[in-house]
């Protein structure tokens, strides 16, 4: 049952060319209220992608002035600042107050709030698996009740729409709108030192292993790996497995694996874990050796790359890791390459994660805000300040803060296979439980491969 929901269409059509249209189509009723605080030379006119009677148009018309929309989500801190900056213009123009509340305990709290009848108007879910439960209970408002199919198709590629469709209390529901995404299949490196040492970016797995060996010969461990993350220790290992799964088996098998049809004990999964162990368990390849992996914080693991001289050379992590880079690092001193293909027939897949905004209370102003979040404009200043990739169409490549992030967007749009982070889709007991724990046990050496896979698989029961 999970499988049908999660199945993504493999092909994402390249969409870069059409990006301008959404920005220039400024024909809505909102232009008369154009903000005059024109910061940093950005164009602040609001594109009106939907028809004139859309909720966004009404909001820009001032119909919902003075109303308040509450939002609840897991991001805090710098991300919260960036979020508030990105909605400010919309708030000023419409008079709707979007009150965001960020909590580190989002995952635990959202269930209590929804069940206690105190649901926020909009909640930000980084794990669609968590949202699925609320959709099944009929707590979430179907986005299609106020946005048309045609409009959504214009805003998102089909894969995203498929990922947002979840089984509700009565039939499938379009559970929310994708607001942000992040590319995971990235290998980071210290560009300056890398170039000085004369290394070349590998384009195949074999080249990657050759490079790893070369670096070991030159006297350094190639990889810096850390999976410690408090109670979530082990998650970076699950990302590795997902990435390698996509490169060693068919997308269909990946979907089956995520939905529980393909057990962890299957040779296909074991093969992926073995591929990972080839690097992880070789003390010449890993900074600090295998024993340090489970005790190194994922955020600290990237730091040895930027020591002078570098203590390690490669680090596989999602785009957000730039926020853990040492301060004062200039944009030309680091870069990334996609984790290379292992088996040519599966090409160069992209593993992604994203945040989906779901709506719990149906009021016209909430509809307007939800519709606003389907537009690339709702993310514009955030993209410009770095750290996110737009899941919706219409984000201008020139918005991206630096070349690295622009390439992430291009990588995403050109990838033939795109899959969502599997552990975020699996039920919590596996995806945020036995999978993390099993991998940690395996890496720290307390159990062997077979035992670890059995342990993880037990989470499905």
């Amino acid at each position: 049952m999970f499988g049908t929901v999660l199945a993504l269409s493999a092909a994402l059509s390249a969409c870069g060319g059409n990006n301008e249209t959404n920005n220039t189509g400024n024909t809505g009723g909102g232009t008369n209220t154009t903000d005059t605080t024109n910061q940093g030379g950005t164009n602040t006119t609001t594109p009106d992608t939907a028809a004139g009677d859309s909720y966004v148009a009404k909001a820009l018309n001032g119909d919902y002035k003075g109303t308040k929309v509450t939002m609840f989500g897991p991001f805090t801190d710098a991300d919260e600042q960036k979020f508030n900056a990105s909605i400010k213009e919309f708030e000023d123009k419409t008079g709707i107050d979007i009150a965001y509340e960020g909590s580190k305990e989002f995952e635990a709290t959202i269930s209590v709030r929804v069940n206690g009848g105190n649901a926020p108007d909009i909640a930000d879910f980084p794990q669609p698996g968590l949202l699925k439960g609320f959709v099944k209970d009929g707590k979430v408002i179907d986005v299609k009740s106020f946005l048309t199919d045609d409009y959504l198709k214009k805003q998102y590629n089909q894969s995203w729409l498929d990922m947002a469709t979840m089984p509700g209390a009565s039939g499938d529901v379009y559970a929310g709108v994708w607001a942000r995404s992040s590319v995971k299949s990235l290998v980071w490196y210290n560009k300056k030192a890398f170039d000085e040492a004369g290394y070349k970016v590998p384009t195949t797995w074999d080249e990657l292993m050759t490079l790893t060996d070369q670096i070991a010969k030159d006297g350094d461990p190639a990889w810096s790996i850390g999976i410690e993350s408090g109670t979530a220790t082990g998650w970076p290992a699950t990302d590795w497995i997902e990435d390698i799964m996509l490169r060693t088996t068919t997308p269909e098998n990946y979907d089956k694996w995520v939905s529980g049809e393909l057990p962890f004990t299957d040779p296909v999964v074991k093969n992926a874990v073995k591929k990972m162990s080839d690097i992880w368990f070789n003390d010449d390849y890993v900074y600090g050796g295998r024993k340090s992996i489970a005790t190194t914080s994922f955020g600290d693991a990237v730091k040895p790359l930027f020591d002078n001289p570098p203590k390690a050379w490669l680090h596989r992590q999602a785009g957000f890791i730039t926020s853990f880079f040492p301060e004062g690092l200039s944009a030309d001193s680091f870069d990334w390459f996609p984790l290379p293909p292992i088996d040519a027939q599966y090409g160069q897949p992209a593993l992604i994660s994203g945040d989906i905004y779901a709506m719990f209370n149906d009021r016209p102003e909430v509809r307007a805000v939800m519709e606003f979040f389907t537009t690339a404009d709702s993310l514009k200043t955030w993209i410009q300040s770095g750290g996110v990739t737009a899941p919706m169409n219409g984000a201008d490549p020139s918005w991206y803060a630096n070349d690295q992030e622009k390439r992430m967007a291009e990588f995403l749009s050109s990838a033939k296979t795109i899959r969502f982070d599997g552990s975020d889709l699996m039920p919590g007991a596996v995806g945020a439980g036995s999978f993390w724990k099993g991998m940690t046990d395996y890496v720290s050496g307390t159990v062997d491969l077979d035992k670890a896979m059995e342990e993880i698989q037990a989470g499905w029961k």
């Binding site: 910061q39 940093g40 030379g41 950005t42 897991p74 991001f75 805090t76 801190d77 710098a78 991300d79 600042q81 960036k82 900056a85 009150a99 509340e101 960020g102 909590s103 580190k104 305990e105 709290t109 209590v112 709030r113 069940n115 206690g116 009848g117 105190n118 040492a197 010969k217 030159d218 006297g219 350094d220 993350s229 408090g230 914080s297 955020g299 600290d300 730091k303 001289p309 957000f320 926020s323 853990f324 040492p326 200043t381 410009q384 300040s385 770095g386 918005w399 803060a401």
Partner: protein, 364 residues
Amino acid sequence: MAKRRSKLKKSKWLVNAVLAVICLVWSIPTIGLLVSSFRPAADILQSGWWNVLPHREWQTVEQLTLPRDTDLREPIDVKGQTYTDDQLRAGVTVGDERYIWENRRARLLNVQEKHWGAITNFTTQNYEAVLGGKEYKIALPDGGTKTEKGSGMGQSFWNTMAVTVPATVIPILIASFAAYAFAWLRFPGRRSIFVIIIALLVVPIQVALIPILKDYTSLGLNGTYAGIWLAHAAFGLPLITYFMYNAISQLPKDLFESAFMDGATNFTIFSRLILPLTVPALASISIFQFLWVWNDYLVSLIFLGSQPEVQVMSMKIANLVGSRGNDWHLLTAAAFISMLTPLAVFFALQKYFVRGLLGGSVKG
């Protein structure tokens, strides 16, 4: 006689020594936290806090550059002796000297000797970030950066005060009235009601969260101070009532009889006799309740939320580490700042504390 005294002295000495050891063991983590709170994040990753104490450590006195073409997989020649790569990675001691890689790639080897040393690199940055708010550098489209300042602890400190003081006073006041009634007034069902209240002590607060939240939603109490005062008062009442009952029921009966003779009402007895006589008990239960509410995370998380106008310090601190835990080093400083108020309360009331704790048990 003299012999006995020396024995007494000896045992006192022993007690003090044991206490000193216990104190030391208990305060070491706190001291470590304090030291770490003044160290830069990068340093904390490199070395433990105890390195601030003077100690013998390896210090580099000389650097050797081995030939560029040295094969690391073969025995490596250093000053006429050969060592394996593993040895040089871990550091190999020869006489007073130790050889250890500085940079294997450049074949740079450190020759180290033991010297006295201590870390002296301290910073107040952590405290500045916690008190004054973190600074976020946000890149602008034109290539520049804008510095946004996050909110500091000020607002959440007052929020916590606004939660804690009433949430300490209200339940203690109600519980003292109740304790007096249970101890000295005769009314039907006195025993059974008291037993029910004591039984409530074992109800875990977690099971009450969702039902109460539902009621709060319909009453509009979510995210308000009134709501959280009520919640803390309710969760605190059973224990405080029990505690105050113990203290009040131990007071001599004659006192109340003579007061009654003189025509005092129950309220007069309570305010003129009970309150002054139970000050030690009141003080110690105040400390308990104050600490509990001050450090509370769960109840605030559920009933108050993290909107900036009501967010309490425990939640603010939890959020300080950032979305992905990248600012973990701020926790040390934040923990110390949040400890200050409870410490002040504790020291202000501590002379009553021990008396109050023993109050019920020793008299009798």
